[in-house]
Structures are given as C-alpha cells and as structure tokens.
C-alpha cells in the first residue's frame, strides 16, 4: 500500500500518542518525539518500522508525538493513520497483529 494523503490518528493524552503521516516518494522518514525517548525511543521506532513493514508501507513521513503509549497502542494508532491515509486498504487482519 501507499500513503497518498496526510492523515492523523490518536490523541495527545497520557498513555496515547498522536501520529501524523504524509506521502513521500521513496523514503521512510520517522520523526519521534517522546517523553521517554531516552529509555524507549529505539523500541518505539522498531515497533513503528515493524508495523509499517507488515502493512507493506515503505515510504512516507511519520511524525509521532508519544505520551508514554504501550507498544500495542503505538501499533493501533499507526495502523489507523495508515488506514486513513491510503486509497485502498488491502491489509489482511493477520498483518495487523
């Protein structure tokens, strides 16, 4: 799938995150802001990359404002943003796990 429009998901509230995605031609740029970036920055980024790879997304600008979300919340919000930012959602449920 391909991100074709800017999309937004999540909230700025505690234990959540706000994800903003935008189309990019051929690079994946992840910009992560987090209150816990020292301890968990690398882990969050790994979750983001894994989630996108399972959806077949390899290009886009991903801006994340993290408020201490669990990994599963990161996945859920990112998947929602992608759902909102693609023209045709073709992912199988197994790609969401």
């Amino acid at each position: 799938m391909k991100i074709v429009r800017e999309a937004l998901a999540g909230t700025l509230e505690s234990s959540d995150l706000m994800v903003r995605i935008a189309p990019r031609d051929d690079e994946l740029e992840i910009v992560l802001q987090s209150e816990v970036i020292q301890q968990f920055g690398a882990q969050i980024e790994a979750v983001v990359r894994d989630t996108l790879a399972k959806l077949g997304i390899f290009a886009g600008l991903i801006v994340i404002e993290d408020k201490g979300a669990l990994d599963c919340v990161v996945r859920a919000r990112l998947q929602t943003a992608v759902q909102r930012g693609v023209d045709a959602w073709t992912a199988d449920w197994s790609a969401l796990s």
């Binding site: 999540g10 919340v73 919000r77 998947q79 759902q83 449920w93 796990s97």
Partner: protein
C-alpha cells in the same frame, strides 16, 4: 465437584478510544471488563477505537479477566468490522447492543461462526450477551435469552429503554417490569442477568441502595462506569460470616451425600434441595472472590 462458578458481579465499561484507560483498567480487578465501541466512541474515532481494542484484547494482562466488547449494531456501517476485529483478537464475550428480537442474536451468531471458521478459532468459543434497550427487547427477553447456546447473559440498558417507554430515570419504579422480565428470562435460560449503570458516581448511598435492590431481585451483577464502584459492589455482594458458615455446611453435606452415593442430601436432620446447594456454592464463590461483607 462442579467447575468453579464464574462470577459476573461487576462489568466495567471502558470507552474503546481511551488508550490510558485501556492500558490500565485491569488493575481494578472487575469480574468482567467491557470495551465499548458503541455509544462511548464518536463517529470520528470508530476505526481508531476498533484497532485499539483489537490490540488491547491481546495483552497478556487481559487474559486473566473476562473480556467483553460492545460492538456497534450490525445494521451500522461499523458493526461487522467490529465483530471481525474482536473475534479474531480473542474476545471472550461479544455484547450486542439494542437487541430487540431473537433474530438479532441469530444474525450475530451466524457471523461469529463464519469468522471463527475463517480465523481458525474454535467454533463456539466466542460467547454472546445481549443488551435489552427497548420495550420490544423486554417483551422478547425470553426468546433472546434462549436464542443461542453461546449466550452467557442479558443486560438491561436503562437510558434507551426509559426513552422508549416515554418516561425517564427516577426512583427505579420505572424499571420495575423490565428488571423482572429480564431476570426471569435469564433464570429460565440459565444465563446471567445484569442491571443498568448507576451514573452518579458521587452518590455512594444511592448506588448501594440500588445494588441492594438488584441483588435481592436476583441479578448477577451490574454494569459500571467508574472503577471506584467496583469495591462497593463486590462488598455488597459479599456474604456475612454466618451465611458462609451455613453455605459451607450445605456444600459439605452435599459432597458427603455424593461420595456415599446417596440420592438425598440432609443437614441437621432436614432434607436439602439442589437449588439450596447451588446457592450455597454461589455464596462461597463470592466469599472466595472478595472476602466477607464489611
């Protein structure tokens, strides 16, 4: 000895879109946690909440508590996708809102079975419950309660029901018939019955008064919107020391009779019927779950 009784005294409502509550609610230890995808979620967040609940259901911490998801009605654009998500994520119970007829349950069951087959989940492992929110639902409560062997309970939802009845919430008399009808249907079908939410979380006395009433009527439990109400509810359902003593003696007598192969159970020279034994087991289960009443 029969399988341990599944207590469903407290069913805690959590808005499916609230990441913080979803991430932490298990610590309050309700008997059931109900993730809501319906009324507590705005139209804008339906897709987001569905995915959040999908992932939350898979958290190991939620494998130790019974999980329920209130999906959107299958007549909405969201209902079927909600169902796909939660059945695949391993939810224990699907709660159908605004159930008016047994056919509503049949339609739900057919979809659940299809999804179970699709995703390799054991057919029949997804349980169902129905919320009754209208005069039609109350009148059809028995048919709804017995519509499927997957059914584990029916719940009365007061807000929509009183609207449908052209009245409003008051001292409880407005719910009298509906409570009795839902309860009788549940007892006949041998499933659980859940009472309405009590919305004023600052009114402990009012809450406890309502809990006394529904416990005496025979409800298994109540839907809750604030974690603070859980302990109050559990304590109200907890037995006294005297009740537990008596229940232990009843169960002891029943087990003795069973081991001796006796057809009749007696305690203190009196014959004891099966419903008394069943009630004694319930009393002990409640005591084991949250101690004696304080």
């Amino acid at each position: 000895m029969s399988a341990p009784l599944k207590l469903r005294r407290s069913m805690l409502f959590l808005p499916g879109s609230n990441a913080a509550m979803l991430s932490t609610a298990y610590v309050f230890k309700p008997d059931c946690i109900m993730f809501d995808l319906e009324d507590a979620v705005s139209l804008r967040e339906k897709d987001s909440a569905r995915l959040l609940v999908f992932h939350t259901l898979k958290l190991p911490v939620y494998s130790r508590v019974e999980t329920v998801v209130r999906i959107n009605s299958l007549s909405t654009p969201f209902g079927l996708t909600d169902l796909e998500a939660v059945v695949r994520a391993g939810v224990d119970v699907v709660r159908l809102p605004k159930t008016d007829t047994a056919d509503d349950v049949h339609a739900l069951e057919a979809e659940v079975e299809r999804i179970e087959t699709d995703c390799g989940r054991a057919v029949g492992s997804t349980k169902l419950m129905a919320a009754i929110e209208s005069a039609a639902g109350v009148v059809n409560a028995l048919a709804i309660a017995t519509a499927s062997k997957r059914m584990i309970g029916i719940a009365l939802a007061g807000f929509d029901y009183v609207m449908d009845m052209q009245t409003e919430r008051g001292d409880g008399s407005e719910l009298f018939y509906a409570r009795c009808a839902v309860l009788h249907a549940a007892r006949y079908a041998k499933i659980d019955a859940f009472d309405v939410v009590f919305s004023d979380v600052n009114d402990d006395a009012g809450f406890l008064k309502e809990v006394e009433l529904i416990k005496r009527l025979g409800f298994n439990g109540k839907s809750l919107i604030n974690p603070r109400q859980i302990d109050l509810l559990h304590n109200a359902f907890a037995p006294t020391e005297e009740e537990v003593d008596y229940a232990r003696r009843v169960v002891q007598a029943a087990e003795t009779a069973e081991s001796k192969g006796l057809g009749v159970i007696s305690l203190g020279g009196k014959m004891i019927d099966a419903p008394i034994v069943a009630h004694a087991r319930l009393v002990i289960a409640r005591a084991n779950a949250s101690g004696l009443r304080t």
